[in-house]
């Protein structure tokens, strides 16, 4: 098969795999379409078996890291960490919705950074809704803060987002160096989100709330917090002494899992489900399909668009292209496609691409193509809520956070 035919077939398969992952017909797992598609690109010769194996070999530790973090977040939830955080925020707000928003920003930013955006979307968002209702505040600004920060606050650590783990592996940076370079971009994105949400939801935040009732106080799971803190510390230490930080994630997860199993708070099947094994297989298969798309022409296409070097305009251009691509397809295939092109240029361009794919999704979340399908799915269930408010908020935050974070990255690189 020639390169053009291989490219057309690979792009078609990639779009099919993504459409399947979003629509999930009859609730089938996303791997059901991705694994045959990966097999097909190899059989058709769009990727050689050796290249496919190399890609899988590169992605395997990343996927293991992701699984460990997903289980760690679930164990923290089982131990009541998020409920305790919600309770703390309710107490801190003292009946003032603006302070509640500040508290939600703090908890959502830290949760996303340490336990990944999955934890914020799936585990923290419902807690924030309950917390706002408990103190009689309008839940809308606080829920939107959670869903937005799940993307915007996922810049700080390699563990904050699956896209970060992929870029971290490709960049050759240490865990601590990654965090140092991304600290200012992370803070810049959070600051922009705060200013925009505070103004956008001014009406909801203006009317008062009340402090929570004393009887509802929750206990803080100290053991879990200590293990989490030590795991974070171990990420830094392992990377400084040349051990893969993946082992720190495994160790922290193993300690909490052993304790939860002994106390019968969880079961082995529940831990297996929390690790999302089918999603891990999906990522590996997606990696092969994206490699076919990249190697058969997308790489030359992208490198023609992207300028070289580490100047501010270059970084801004990379972030913009990455954000656009994340909105066209999805941030996961977007970063897989961009990494082979930007990685040789050094950590600056890799991190700029990461800023783009992580912040861009606040415009459409799944990628517009997938969103179209998603809306069709919603429509079938006879509820088609307006996209107006969501899109307006995305238009206000995404360009501003992209610029602020990329400028902050450029500034950090100059130090």
């Amino acid at each position: 098969m020639n390169s053009l035919a291989a490219e057309i077939v690979s792009v078609g398969l990639l779009l099919g795999v993504l459409a399947f992952a979003v629509a999930r017909p009859r609730g089938l797992p996303e791997a059901v379409a991705a694994i045959p598609a990966a097999g097909l690109v190899v059989v058709l010769g769009a990727v050689s078996p050796a290249d496919a194996w190399e890609q899988t070999h590169t992605l395997l530790p990343v996927v293991g890291f992701l699984a460990a973090i997903l289980v760690l977040a679930q164990l923290c939830d089982d131990d009541g960490l998020f409920d305790a955080a919600g309770d703390l925020v309710a107490r801190f707000c003292g009946g003032r919705p603006v302070r509640l928003l500040g508290g939600v920003f703090g908890v959502a930013a830290v949760t996303t950074a340490v336990l990944s955006l999955d934890a914020t979307v799936v585990l923290l968002t419902p807690v924030v809704f309950v917390t706002a209702s408990r103190v009689g505040a309008h839940p809308r600004p606080h829920v939107y803060a959670c869903t937005h920060l799940a993307n915007s606050a996922s810049l700080l650590l390699p563990v904050s987002n699956l896209t970060n783990l992929l870029a971290f592996t490709a960049s050759g940076l240490t865990f601590t160096r990654f965090a140092v370079l991304m600290a200012l971009p992370w803070l810049a994105a959070i600051a922009v989100e705060y200013v925009v949400l505070r103004r956008f939801f001014a009406a909801d935040l203006a009317v008062g709330a009340h402090p929570p009732k004393e009887a509802e106080q929750r206990t803080v799971p100290t053991f879990t917090l200590v293990v989490l803190g030590l795991t974070l510390l171990a990420f830094a230490v392992t990377s400084l002494i040349g051990i893969e930080p993946l082992w720190a994630a495994f160790a922290g997860t193993a300690v909490l899992a052993a304790r939860a199993l002994r106390r019968r708070r969880t079961t082995l099947p529940a831990l297996w489900r929390a690790a999302s094994p089918l999603f891990c297989l999906f990522v590996l298969a997606l990696g092969i399909v994206v490699k076919a798309v990249v190697d058969n022409g997308l790489d030359t296409g992208i490198s023609r668009i992207l300028p070289g070097g580490e100047s501010l305009t270059t970084l801004l251009a990379i972030a913009a292209v990455a954000a656009l691509l994340a909105n066209l397809i999805n941030n996961l295939p977007a970063i897989l496609a961009l990494l082979p092109v930007v990685a040789p240029a050094g950590p600056g361009p890799v991190l700029a691409a990461l800023i783009g794919v992580n912040l861009g999704p606040n415009l459409t979340y799944v990628g517009s193509l997938a969103t179209l399908l998603w809306r069709r799915v919603l429509h079938e269930h006879d509820s088609a809520p307006s996209l107006g408010q969501f899109t307006r908020l995305g238009l206000l935050t995404v360009p501003a956070t992209l610029i602020a974070s990329t400028v902050a990255l450029w500034g950090t690189l100059q130090l």
């Binding site: 419902p126 001014a202 009406a203 891990c280 799944v366 969501f390």
Partner: protein
């Protein structure tokens, strides 16, 4: 004199509802009172979208935070209506709807003789800012007279 009571529709919204219930007690003591709460569907839709962005992570819809927010919103609405009915202190009708709040309020107001709602804007800034986009819409489009009250200070 007719025995047919006029109907006062009271919009029960988080944090502003006590002022509306008090207004119904004082200004519509003899009316048939309908307490209306509208769950905002856009909140659950936002969580659905964020979950879709994760491509499900291999899990089924049972892990979707949007579905959990829909269930929690139902509980929160029922709880608010119960508190409001208790504060009103006399028999009343409870309506729990969901959708876009301003549109559902206008729809429900078609059968009412009076709509009681609170300003949802910044109480510190009299003028246009004292009305948020939702109460602005309701005031503009209500098919019946509107009694607009300031929320209680906390």
């Amino acid at each position: 004199m007719s025995d047919v009571k006029t109907t006062a529709l009271v919009w029960i919204s988080p944090s502003t509802w006590p002022a509306c219930v008090d207004a119904a007690r004082e200004r519509a003591p003899d009316d048939h009172v309908v307490l209306l709460h509208v769950g905002d569907d856009r909140i659950a839709a936002e969580a659905h979208r964020a979950y879709a962005g994760l491509l499900g992570r291999g899990h089924g819809p049972e892990r979707d935070p949007g579905s959990r927010l829909e269930a929690l919103s139902g509980v929160a609405g029922a709880d608010l209506l119960e508190k409001a009915a208790h504060r009103l202190g006399r028999p009343c009708e409870l309506l729990d709807r969901h959708g876009r709040p301003q549109e559902e309020v206008i729809r429900a107001a078609a059968d009412a003789d009076l709509l009681i709602c609170a300003r949802d804007g910044d109480p510190e800034r009299p003028g246009p800012h004292s009305l948020g986009p939702e109460s602005r819409f309701v005031v503009d489009h209500a098919p019946c007279p509107v009694l607009l009250v300031w929320p209680h200070r906390t």
